[in-house]
């Protein structure tokens, strides 16, 4: 069934279709609509779930941890400051191997105060052990939440679905809503690996010696690496049923491209338009959208840019004192395999500055010619800073 929906509404609907049993969240712009929707849905009895109106994001994640460890399907949502506040417990959720799904609206971190699109919030949480996926449109929000539950519950790892503030949260688009019965077939009830159970009492998470800790972390890392292939497998299954594909990585005209532009989130669509224009102008350009950033889809990335000599990365974030986070990650990932690549890392679209088709074309031009408006600072080129 097709309907016009905002990203937040689509997310709320996906959570309902997924039959989440426990929702706990603290409102923060621009996620508020999502939690309001859910509290309405639950209040009207359309979902057999408990909605806990917690007093902070830290408690939102904590209560999801409790609910998940006691054996139910859980959900929370947040953004920027709220995500940062949860930082400690993000580590906890992943370390406890809980299949929590969270939607994060990518918004700038303060100060100064800014409510608009920026990826530093979630990218700076990339070491917490959460699977991270970045949606490119509202349909992707709906689909990825459902896939996320399957992946989470099979890998026993939490999943963060990221959607751009305002570009997705507050933008209405037509989407195809899956049928509940079909979703139920795709996503059966949760069957926890282990839980708090008086019939089988255990202590979870107590003090651990160095040897065991090291090896537990190793095991977790291995399981995390496996998620790239797992997500692909489940996305394929989703595609077979629902005819939409949400893979960990999406290449566009990159097969024979000499120059590849890499980005995440909604900018990926804009980048595709820029690629088309560049092709018309005779540039052998292509693009790669990393939908998955954790685990880092190294395998997929390598094969997507097999022929490229130039890589242009657009970071809607920065790691202060170094460079754009995606640029770092991509360079590190490709280092072993291709040593003759020229990298061009752009920092753009921070704090909600739009990334436009013209803008992307300009980046490519500057990358190739060495001339352009973006300011070179260390290894990054910063777009549209004031003179």
């Amino acid at each position: 069934m097709k309907k016009l929906m905002m990203g937040t509404e689509a997310a709320a609907l996906a959570v309902r279709l997924a039959r989440a049993q426990f929702v706990s969240a603290y409102p923060i712009t621009p996620q508020t609509n999502l939690v309001e929707e859910l509290s309405n849905i639950i209040g009207r009895g359309e979902m057999k779930a408990k909605y806990l109106t917690v007093e902070s994001e830290h408690s939102a994640m904590a209560s999801c941890i409790g609910a998940s460890l006691a054996g139910v399907r859980t959900f929370t949502a947040t953004s920027s400051q709220g995500l940062a506040y949860m930082h400690e417990v993000l580590h906890y959720a992943a370390g406890m191997r809980l299949p929590i799904v969270m939607v994060n609206a990518n918004r700038a971190l303060s100060p100064p105060w800014n409510l608009y699109c920026d990826h530093t919030d979630s990218l700076s949480q990339r070491d917490t052990g959460w699977v991270q996926y970045y949606c490119d449109d509202v349909q992707d929000v709906m689909d990825s939440v459902l896939i996320a539950y399957r992946v989470a519950e099979q890998a026993q790892l939490p999943v963060m679905i990221n959607m751009d503030a305002f570009y997705l949260t507050h933008t209405s688009e037509p989407i195809d809503i899956p049928d509940q019965e079909e979703v139920d077939r795709f996503l059966p009830p949760i069957h926890p690996l282990s839980k708090l159970d008086v019939e089988n009492p255990k202590t979870f998470g107590n003090v651990c010696g160095s040897d065991l800790y090291m090896t537990m972390k190793f095991k977790r890392h291995l399981d995390m690496l496996d998620v790239e292939a797992l997500w692909e497998k489940i996305a394929d299954e989703y595609n077979r049923t629902f005819k939409r594909h949400s893979p960990p990585i999406e290449a566009y005209r990159a097969q024979d491209a000499e120059l590849v532009v890499i980005g995440i989130g909604t900018a990926a669509g804009t980048i595709r338009l820029a690629i088309d224009r560049l092709r018309e102008q005779g540039v052998a350009a292509g693009s790669v959208r990393l939908s998955m950033v954790r685990p880092f889809p190294a395998k997929g990335l390598r094969s997507a840019i097999a022929k490229a000599k130039h890589v242009v990365v657009i970071d809607r974030d920065v790691s202060f004192g170094a460079e754009g986070i995606l640029a770092q990650e991509i360079k590190a990932s490709l280092y072993e395999h291709k040593r003759d690549l020229e990298f061009h890392g752009f920092v753009a679209g921070i704090g909600g500055k739009d990334i436009t088709t013209d803008g992307v074309v300009e980046f490519v031009r500057q990358a190739v010619s060495g001339q352009g408006q973006a300011k070179q600072v260390g290894s990054s080129l910063w777009a549209e800073v004031m003179p």
Binding site: F22, A49, V198
Partner: protein
């Protein structure tokens, strides 16, 4: 006070890492003897989360989760919700935190849970300092108390935070104080609390030989003196407004209580006097709340 008949099949095994004479382990033993095996425990960082045993071993035979420091009440609320959704309304979710995890870093989540009246039993085992990290002061440390962050040169000035009053002002159905020295009173309160729905709070005095600097055999005695000299009165608050004193302690000087603990030995005479005055003032205030003072009577 009464002496109780203990259970012999405990849900706590020996072999744990509690200090010799640990009051917190006594507190847990008494608590589990009433709550029984249909209990899930949430405990944050603190003495208990390290003494419980080293992975993959534990000393408790009920499900336990060791959580991030500030999150106890929130995790407990999540667990309880989860159980209810699965159709289980009988398992007790016990939030078991020290004074740090209750009065200080844990107070936000606790206040949130209490305001929502989440159906959890929150027990604070109070040893009056951050003991696990090496005896640093908390807002539960009494004025005049030595800790490593309130050394003899800078003893704690502020009075102990009144956590039960804070919980009462949230209007929770049940809040009470209890002490390891009065185990029958504690067990009666646990039975009562177990049968109530909503947020129940018990502030349980658990003396600590290591931090309070007394001989380990005096653990129960010290707590007893605290109760008897009105330093830690035993009372309950029902529905946030009905205050009931459990034991009308006769006036006993606080000096014996202060004297057997090394943590108070640096107090000057003046500070001791202020300590007594504070105890007297709190006692008066408590009796007033319990309706035990006539308008015209003096203390």
């Amino acid at each position: 006070m009464n002496q109780d008949t203990p259970r012999h099949d405990e849900l706590m095994t020996p072999g744990h890492f509690g200090c010799p004479g640990c009051g917190a382990t006594l507190a847990m033993k008494h608590t589990l003897s009433v709550l029984g095996p249909d209990t899930i425990i949430v405990m944050p960082a603190g003495c208990w989360s390290t003494l419980i045993g080293i992975f993959p071993f534990t000393c408790l035979e009920v499900p336990v989760v060791s959580v991030a420091f500030a999150t106890t009440a929130a995790v407990a609320a999540g667990i309880k919700s989860s159980l209810e959704i699965q159709g289980n309304d009988h398992t007790t979710v016990l939030a078991w935190a020290g004074d740090g995890g209750t009065f200080d870093i844990g107070i936000q989540a606790l206040s949130g849970a209490a305001e929502r009246n989440d159906d959890i039993l929150f027990i604070c085992y109070d040893n009056e300092a951050y003991m696990n990290t090496g005896i640093q002061r908390s807002s539960a440390t009494p004025a005049g108390g030595w800790t490593t962050t309130t050394p003899a040169s800078a003893l704690k000035v502020q009075n102990k935070k009144n956590m039960v009053a804070i919980m009462a002002s949230h209007g929770v159905p049940y809040a009470a104080t209890a002490s390891i020295s009065d185990s029958q009173d504690l067990k009666d309160k646990l039975q009562k609390a177990k049968a109530i729905k909503g947020t129940r709070f018990i502030h349980l005095l658990a003396s600590c030989p290591t931090g309070w600097r007394h001989a380990p055999e005096l653990t129960v005695e010290v707590a007893r003196l605290a109760v008897q000299s009105r330093v830690f009165p035993l009372y309950e608050v029902i529905e946030g407004e009905n205050w009931q004193l459990n034991w009308m302690a006769e006036k006993i000087d606080v000096k014996p209580y202060l004297k057997i603990q090394g943590r108070f030995k640096s107090m000057s005479q003046e500070e001791q006097r202020r300590f007594q005055q504070n105890v007297d003032r709190n006692w008066l205030s408590l009796r007033r709340k319990c309706g035990l003072l006539e308008a015209t009577s003096a203390s």
